[in-house]
């Protein structure tokens, strides 16, 4: 029997992520409703910039991952051989209730790849919806179309990490065999929910791909928020020099000609983390990037109907509270 949550479609009992098994003719989680951490986090820190500004989401993670990125900042959670971490055991209802009590607008599934705990995630998402809470997540985007459909039915937003435009890079540095399913899912989700993209740049390895990714994303949605991260190499890449900011700035400025909402962050004080009006150049939303713990919104200059106060440009801020899904 195969697991059909991600494109590895593992044949049991060989669950690559070590999170699923076959029981009574069904694929089930080995560790249902187990979470490694939970805490309120600002949307800007996720990052989600074009929805819910200055809003707190309860960020929740499970453990393990279907990928094995050489630079993973959360390797201590994403590469646990077995159940070797302290884990919280929360029913979907309790997780939703705690989220509501904390004053957060909803649950954000992040930290590790949430698809490796998808049934628990979907159950918590359903409980959250019953309490009127939003649901979103960060993902490497390697899920199957079947899983993508389940996610799209429950989530209001996603941030997908498009780590490269080449399958060779994916194979060599992330353990995922192909970029194609990720590109397919980006196109799919762009139609279904609010979608933002993150690309961590490892200089010398994937910076040359930024023009191709620009073209691809422009074809998906020219107003998409694209977060280019100056990768702070960790884990197997520890010791590697982080990308040169001045050189990457040139590439980001170039990308902005096609994708005006391209951001450059993951280093403190980035000057390219503000939302700029593509018509008149006015700052629409001003942030400070605090590096790996994400950005903080300093000022939102949009007027009441999300227009540029200077030229009237209608900024495409997603209103997830009004229905969420597209």
């Amino acid at each position: 029997m195969n697991c059909n949550y991600c494109e590895f479609r593992c044949q049991m009992p060989n669950s690559l992520c070590k999170m699923y098994e076959e029981k009574d003719g069904q694929i089930v989680e080995k560790y249902p409703h187990k979470w490694c951490s939970y805490h309120p986090n600002a949307t800007e820190s996720i990052p989600i910039y074009h929805a819910l500004p200055n809003c707190q989401m309860m960020e929740v993670g499970s453990f393990n991952c279907n990928a094995n990125c050489a630079y993973c900042i959360n390797a201590r959670v994403a590469t646990i051989p077995e159940n070797g971490l302290f884990l919280f055991d929360f029913t979907p209802e309790r997780l939703a209730e705690m989220t509501a009590k904390s004053g957060c607008a909803g649950i954000h599934f992040g930290v590790n790849e949430f698809v490796v705990s998808l049934p628990s995630v979907l159950a918590a998402a359903a409980a959250a919806s019953r309490l009127g809470l939003l649901v979103g997540g960060s993902s490497n985007g390697f899920m199957t179309p079947e899983a993508a459909e389940l996610i799209a039915a429950k989530f209001s937003y996603l941030n997908i990490s498009l780590k490269s435009f080449s399958s060779e890079y994916y194979q060599k540095y992330t353990g995922l065999p192909s970029v194609e399913p990720i590109l397919r899912n980006i196109k799919y989700f762009a139609d279904k929910l609010h979608l933002e993209i993150t690309t961590p740049v490892v200089q010398g390895l994937n910076d040359h791909e930024l023009p191709a990714i620009t073209e691809f994303l422009a074809g998906v949605n020219p107003n998409i928020a694209w977060h280019i991260f100056r990768l702070q190499p960790q884990y197997k890449m520890e010791g590697r020099v982080p990308p040169d900011i001045n050189e990457l700035t040139v590439l980001v400025e170039k990308a902005r000609q096609k994708l005006p909402f391209t951001y450059f962050s993951n280093f403190i004080g980035s000057p390219l983390d503000n939302t700029i009006c593509p018509v008149c150049g006015e700052i629409l939303m001003e942030r400070i990037c605090r590096s790996s713990c994400g950005a903080v919104l300093l000022d939102n200059y949009l007027n009441a109907d999300n227009r540029c106060a200077r030229c009237g440009y209608q900024f495409p801020l997603a209103d997830l509270n009004k229905g969420g899904q597209k």
């Binding site: 805490h39 971490l85 280093f267």
Partner: protein, 382 residues
């Protein structure tokens, strides 16, 4: 207060209050930019972090000749917290830190006051109390502290019955006993919880790493002082102020994870309690720097970060303070002051010296170095 941030091969200048880009007089900024570009932070897991403090301090003395200087070392606490303790290495580090501080003070004519924040102990277990209906929060800094928010019926009984919980202290109880600012009150959790020795809270905001050792509530802390002793941690500030008033230069050092057992300098044990709550982390550093009692600290010992979005959007790089403290020795207008620390934001937020140099580490990720400065005081930079 303005800051220069160095993320290796690139620097930004920001106004700490607004978080927005700003300009700094290049005459002042140039030597400071050069200084932090030459001393990237080696990281918390690396003993070279201790050398970083002393090396950057030597340069600071040459540049600014401070009369009051503060150092913070955190290497002893991290050895064992999230990875198995390497005792031999830990002993070497502590020995080196103490020797470095002594020789630095001697060579530069500072009177030395050095406080250990208390040794860590092997973790006996976590307190997660899964049947609570309220929200249990933990601290990524003082692992023996917990907080309970939105408590419901039965929650207090559960915690009081828990054999690993030493104290459950109500916010209202603290507010009735002490005068506190509105922001402090707002950030206090509904109940402040203290774990018994060897136990650590696991809840909202807990670090997602397993612990090997943990800090514990210390009623007394070891202190070495060349300017005399007093019975309580709260009194040290006045001794430091008097020494400074008498024209002496003072180096105040806080070493995290250093307890009585490894304190090789002559020391006295000073009372470390405010009521039932021990000074630790930010509150300890602030009290040493200001002489203020715990409830007058800009932040409670454990603060409720669920109220973050309700706070004024100021000082985005300075924890959750509304403003930088004004009563510290670091702010004295009649002195040249500097602070150098491995405990990121605590350095400038608790000391608020003319010149603060701190590592920029968030969630164990080493992101660079931040130098904050009081521009008007630094005009005389050499």
């Amino acid at each position: 207060m303005k800051a220069i941030i160095d993320v290796r091969e690139w620097q930004a200048t920001v106004d700490l209050k607004t978080g927005k880009p700003c300009l700094i007089d290049e005459k002042i900024a140039a030597p400071l930019r050069d200084l932090i570009s030459r001393y990237p932070y080696p990281g918390d897991r690396n003993d070279e972090g201790a050398d970083w403090v002393t090396a950057i301090a030597q340069e600071t003395v040459k540049l600014y000749d401070p009369q009051f200087l503060y150092f913070n070392y955190n290497q002893p606490i991290f050895n064992g917290l999230y990875r198995p303790r390497q005792e031999e290495q830990r002993q070497r580090t502590i020995k080196k830190i103490l020797a470095d501080c002594q020789s630095f003070a001697e060579e530069n004519n500072f009177a030395l006051v050095l406080a250990g924040m208390g040794d860590t102990v092997p973790l006996k277990g976590y307190i997660s109390e899964p049947h609570l209906k309220g929200l249990l929060m933990a601290s990524a800094w003082s692992h023996y502290l917990g907080g309970l928010l939105q408590a419901e019926k039965g929650d207090l009984e559960l915690l009081q019955k828990n054999q690993n919980v030493a104290a459950v202290i109500g916010k209202e109880e603290l507010a009735a006993a002490y005068q506190m600012s509105e922001n402090y009150y707002k950030l206090l959790p509904q109940y402040l919880l203290i774990a018994k020795e060897g136990y650590s809270f696991k809840g909202m905001f807990s670090h997602n790493q397993n612990m090997h050792y943990t800090e514990c509530a210390r009623t007394h802390l070891p202190v070495y002082s060349q300017i005399g002793y007093c019975g309580h941690i709260e009194g040290l500030n006045s001794l430091i102020s008097t020494a400074l008033d008498q024209g002496r230069k003072v180096l105040l050092v806080v070493v995290e994870g250093l307890g009585e057992a490894d304190f090789t300098l002559p020391y006295q044990m000073l009372n470390n309690l405010r009521g039932q709550v021990p000074y630790n982390g930010y509150s300890l550093v602030y009290t040493l720097a200001s002489g203020e009692k715990m409830e007058n600290c800009p932040l409670p010992p454990l603060f409720d970060m669920t109220v973050q979005s309700e706070l004024p959007r100021v000082f985005p790089l300075s924890m959750s303070v509304e403003k930088l403290p004004e009563k510290t020795i670091g702010c004295r207008s009649d002195l040249r002051t500097a602070a150098i620390g491995c405990r990121s934001m605590v350095t400038h937020t608790a000391i608020n010296a003319d010149l603060n140099i701190e590592c920029y580490v968030r969630a164990s990720n080493n992101m660079g170095v931040m130098l904050s400065l009081r521009e008007e005081k630094l005009a005389g930079l050499k």
